[in-house]
Symmetry: C2
Subunit: 116 residues, 2 copies
């Protein structure tokens, strides 16, 4: 019926205040990597404004800042994750991995169903 690659699980987490999904987590990861919100935005092909709005949204969802900017010093300022931000990324990865592992057999069943 169809061929091609296996189905993939895509997860989001719904909290009362909003959703945390791969988009917002990807932005946090990019900020951690680039140490700059503008560089993180560019790397995700996203406007600076959009990155700020997303960050503001996830901060509100979690009730505290997940990233912060800093000024001066050797690095001439930039941005970094807060300890909570790092933990949220780590926890999201753990949830994602556990969900994938848990659903692996059922996902293979879907793949077989669609390949018939």
């Amino acid at each position: 019926m169809m061929s091609g690659s296996e189905p993939k699980l895509w997860i989001k987490i719904r909290l009362e205040q909003g959703e945390i999904g791969p988009g917002k987590i990807g932005l946090l990861r990019a900020i951690d990597h680039h140490r700059s919100i503008s560089a993180a935005a560019r790397s995700m092909n996203m406007s600076y404004r959009r990155a700020w709005l997303l960050l503001d949204e996830i901060n509100k969802i979690c009730g505290a800042p997940l990233a912060e900017t800093f000024a001066g010093g050797h690095e001439r300022g930039g941005a970094r994750l807060t300890p909570l931000g790092s933990e949220i990324v780590r926890q999201f990865d753990e949830i994602s991995k556990a969900a994938q592992t848990g659903a692996a057999e059922a996902m293979a069943g879907l793949h077989r169903l669609l390949e018939r």
Copy 2:
């Protein structure tokens, strides 16, 4: 930091052709329940046109019809899931349940993290 209900896992399945998530599966479930696409659309607060487009999309994603309309008989016509449609709903539920179970511990960890 925040209080309230526990975070919930929200899953979608990504196939090469598109995504299957709770929205499309909900529509299939409603068609199965109401035996009518228009009644299913109403029950989901969705226009008839939107329901048809969604159905067309999921049929294309799966490469075969998941619902069909029938005419005449005692029921004066209506709609029903195809055997593949029923199996897709069942398999999605199984994947969803397995993912939730697999991720339960890590989700509790996220809850604790956000409640601190």
